[in-house]
């Protein structure tokens, strides 16, 4: 018979205000096997843990139940304390009487009764618990960074700095990401390229960093410390090792009508191209949709002129298999599609543009060489109206419910830069709220208003329409309580951002979760903000939520610290709660292997004695404990009941169910 100790936590008033903890602690003493029961204000505190340790020793406890918050919160804490007192940590169970009881009930009698049931349930399980031993698995000392924007670059540089090898997999032809498209950065107004490109060069020059550009993650297997990843290197039709980046091919290419994605489709590029001057790697790529040679077989001009002999029209996608200990997801964002916002006339008027398009129009390397000319007639706009929250904080369903966080600041930046460069330009900004928390941020916005005379109008815009060549912006001025119409030459929409859509595929490959807005979920919104709930997967930048460059860089460095902390370990403790097969019952039907998402189950032929000195060879399932994640899918699938999960055996679960049903 087990000697079980029960500890009821008040969690301050979180539990004690709804659950009569004294009554629970008293009533539970009568349970068979319970030799000790107590209640305490904060079990997770130093004193609470000491109470637990002392009781284990004094009462020779062989099993412990803690009635407290969710085991996701403090199970590890309590198990560590139990281990310190000499108890096998897997002999301790947590009954969740906070999230699943006190927080969701109002009536004290009901909540107390439910808490009792939950604790009896945990006791029923502990009675059947057996000590479990953690195994060990080796750590591959190499990291994968998915996405080569500023988040991926910073994470890779920091990991490399600590001496570990890192691969950056970037789906575009160059690293740099969205930051490379920006003109200036807030709140200092320094040139985005000037601070980004040195970091890109550092990546290229680091002997620890391998950049796999124009590549995508195709398949991920394994687990923390031991990921096996298949990477698709897409055919760029240019030999990366031979191309010198001389750009002769771009001068000669006759197919010049491709939309220049880097310039937000505001001008054209050739079929063979280098995305921008500081691209890393500085190697051309051919757009197969646009290349005359690849489409019709006739042309081949770039090959003729390429002095390095780098062009290869026969190139095919290649696959690279690599192993990693940790993975950083840094897939970034894109502006949302604003076609649904008909009131702003984006698709009807060339001079209604998005903020990212404005970045390119303001950039010295952009389609207008940095001269602000409106797209329709290439004239200087004299009146420019900005509309904030286009698609952000939107509950109509056309946009996103969240605040995109960066728009208030970049709009203030745009307004200021325009007033600085073209003082004769009138600038208006429609806003719902101006949100500028952050170091030197509100000062920055105030400078736009006070020093640069930008006209901020509190109110939303209902319509943008073209009247005699002017863009009429009709909106409300909530301060003056009147409707205003501003005849403008250029309208800039501060478009909401959303996670780059490829993140869905990446999340699926990694079995990491995403939220309703496609942002990657962090393990804990406050205390584990850069870790995905999937062990060994870390999150940097916009893939996890809207954030600006300083925050992104901070998060990327935090990711790197976590990755380094993992990679310095030679071995990792493995979860002992894994499946195992009772070979005497297994009939080798393969159903468990079919449902195993991790490929942890294989089959072996084994010899069994069948009595009378005879033996027979049977095919039975065998679980690789290092690969098994303990999900339990095989145990419920197994028709003969041969599969069972350590720590969550069918017997334990049935005894819990019985405890709940027994009244």
């Amino acid at each position: 018979m087990q000697r079980i100790g029960v500890f009821i936590c008040w969690c301050g008033s979180n539990i004690a205000a709804t659950v009569d903890v004294k009554r629970v602690a008293e009533a539970i003493k009568a349970e068979p096997g319970v030799v000790y029961s107590a209640d305490y204000q904060y079990m997770c505190s130093e004193n609470g843990q000491q109470l637990l340790k002392n009781a284990i020793k004094e009462h020779n406890l062989t099993g412990v139940v803690i009635g407290s918050c969710s085991p996701r919160m403090h199970e590890a804490t309590f198990r560590r304390a139990a281990a310190e007192a000499g108890l096998n940590p897997y002999m301790l169970e947590v009954a969740n009487i906070r999230e699943q009881c006190s927080w969701i009930h109002k009536d004290m009698d009901e909540a107390t009764e439910k808490a009792l049931i939950l604790i009896r349930t945990a006791i029923a399980k502990v009675r059947l618990n057996t000590p479990l031993q953690e195994g060990e698995s080796p750590v591959t000392k190499r990291a994968l960074v998915i996405g080569g924007g500023i988040a991926g670059i910073q994470a890779a540089l920091d990991i490399a700095e600590a001496g570990f090898e890192v691969d950056i997999v970037e789906k575009n032809a160059t690293i740099g990401g969205r930051m490379a498209q920006l003109d200036k950065t807030f709140p200092t107004l320094d040139c985005s390229a000037c601070i980004l490109t040195p970091k890109m060069v550092d990546c290229a020059q680091s002997d620890k960093i391998d950049i796999l550009s124009y590549s995508e993650v195709e398949e991920v297997k394994g687990f923390v410390g031991n990921f096996k990843v298949k990477i698709r290197k897409k055919a760029r039709y240019v030999d990366e090792k031979k191309c010198t980046g001389c750009k002769v091919c771009m001068e000669k290419c006759p197919s010049k009508k491709g939309l220049n994605e880097f310039n937000m489709n505001l001008n054209n590029r050739t079929a063979i191209y280098i995305p921008f001057a500081q691209a890393i790697p500085n190697v051309a790529v051919i757009d197969p949709e646009q290349c005359i040679k690849l489409k019709t077989g006739k042309c081949g001009i770039c090959q003729k002129f390429c002095g390095a002999g780098a062009i290869n029209y026969e190139m095919k996608d290649e696959f690279v298999d690599r192993e990693y200990g940790a993975i950083v997801v840094a897939t970034g964002f894109r502006p949302i599609n604003i076609d649904a916002f008909n009131e702003y006339g984006y698709s009807d008027n060339a001079d209604v543009i998005t903020s990212l398009e404005l970045e390119r129009l303001m950039n010295a390397a952009g389609p207008t060489n940095g001269v602000l000319l409106r797209p329709s007639d290439k004239t200087h706009p004299k009146v420019i109206t900005f509309i904030q929250c286009v698609g952000s904080r939107d509950v109509s369903g056309c946009g996103k419910p969240y605040c995109s966080k960066v728009c208030c600041m970049y709009t203030a930046k745009h307004a200021m830069l325009i007033r600085e460069k073209y003082p004769d330009t009138e600038v208006h900004v429609f806003y719902i709220d101006v949100r500028t928390p952050g170091k030197n941020y509100d000062e920055f916005y105030r400078r736009a208003v006070e020093q640069y005379g930008v006209d901020y109008i509190k109110g939303m815009v209902g319509k943008v329409y073209n009247e005699n060549g002017k863009l009429m912006v009709q909106g409300s001025n909530l301060i003056d309580n009147e409707q205003v119409i501003i005849p403008s030459d250029l309208v800039v929409l501060a478009t909401a951002i959303e996670p780059e859509p490829s993140v869905r595929k990446i999340a699926t490959l990694l079995t990491a979760s995403i939220d309703t807005n496609n942002f990657m979920n962090e393990s804990h919104p406050k205390l584990r903000p850069v870790e995905s709930p999937t062990a060994g997967v870390y999150l940097a930048g916009m893939c996890q939520g809207p954030k600006d460059i300083p925050e992104t860089v901070s998060q990327a460095s935090a990711c790197a610290a976590k990755v380094i902390g993992l990679l310095v370990k030679d071995k990792l403790k493995t979860n002992p709660c894994v499946a195992h097969c009772n070979e005497m019952m297994c009939n080798g039907c393969s159903q468990c292997a079919n449902v195993c998402a991790y490929g942890a189950i294989t089959y072996v032929d084994k010899e069994f004695r069948i009595g009378g000195g005879k033996t027979e060879v049977r095919r039975v399932a065998s679980v690789n404990p290092a690969v098994c994640q303990g999900c339990g899918a095989c145990t419920v699938t197994c028709p003969s009941g041969a599969m069972d999960l350590s720590g969550f055996s069918s017997k334990q679960i049935m005894s819990e169910v019985e405890a709940i049903c027994k009244r």
Binding site: F341, N342, E343, S396, G397, K463, Y465, N466, E467, M472
Partner: protein, 258 residues
Amino acid sequence: MKICYYPGCTLKTKAKELDAYARKAAEALGVEMEEVKDWQCCGAVYPMAKNEIATKLSAVRALDYAKHNGGKLLTLCSACHNVIKRVNDDMKNDENIRTKANNYLALEESYNGETQVIHYLEMLKNEVSFDEIAKKVVKPLNRKVGAYYGCLLLRPSGVLAFDNPENPSIIEDFIRAIGGTPVIYPFRNECCGAYVSLKNQTLPKERSAKILNSAKEKGAEEVITACPLCLYNLQVNGAGILPARYFTELLAEALGVK
């Protein structure tokens, strides 16, 4: 096809022609409009107060009648459509209003928003189809017409679910079906000034002029509407800019039954 029809007060008085042409056109299209028995005024304006029940009851009575007579309720006046559709949404989704209205009416079987409210334009589009209408046109319009939606058909867009509130297309498709050329102009979904004209002519004058001038600038020869109040404002407060008529008149004209 037979369908329950709710005309509303204005269509019996000021806006007789909106109703008359609709009936003629429906007959030509093989649709039988059966007037709701003993209908009462819808209340004309949807009451926004959360505790307001009394002014919603007549809409519920009409809806309940339609529930037992084919399940669909046809509306024509934009204002009636707006009120009835929104009350129906309340009866479906607002437990408080549903309970109180049912308690008050004490119907044999409680009404829970089962009836489908369809506007005459929706009936043309979904029950008859614009292709069928085009086949029955004997006198194609052959002129440029601006659709004037106003507010009540489109908003609140979630409940009305009539068309894209910023870029609607149903009346344009209708104009095409009867042989006209639709003119898209920016003010087709802006407010005409509505009831404000009862006490202040300046605002509706300004609004109506804005709407009609905007249509005229884009080449419209006339504008059409489904709303008696919009038509009043466009004709009286926007006098002399462009002719404004009910869409049913053009439909009857094209079908040769005017």
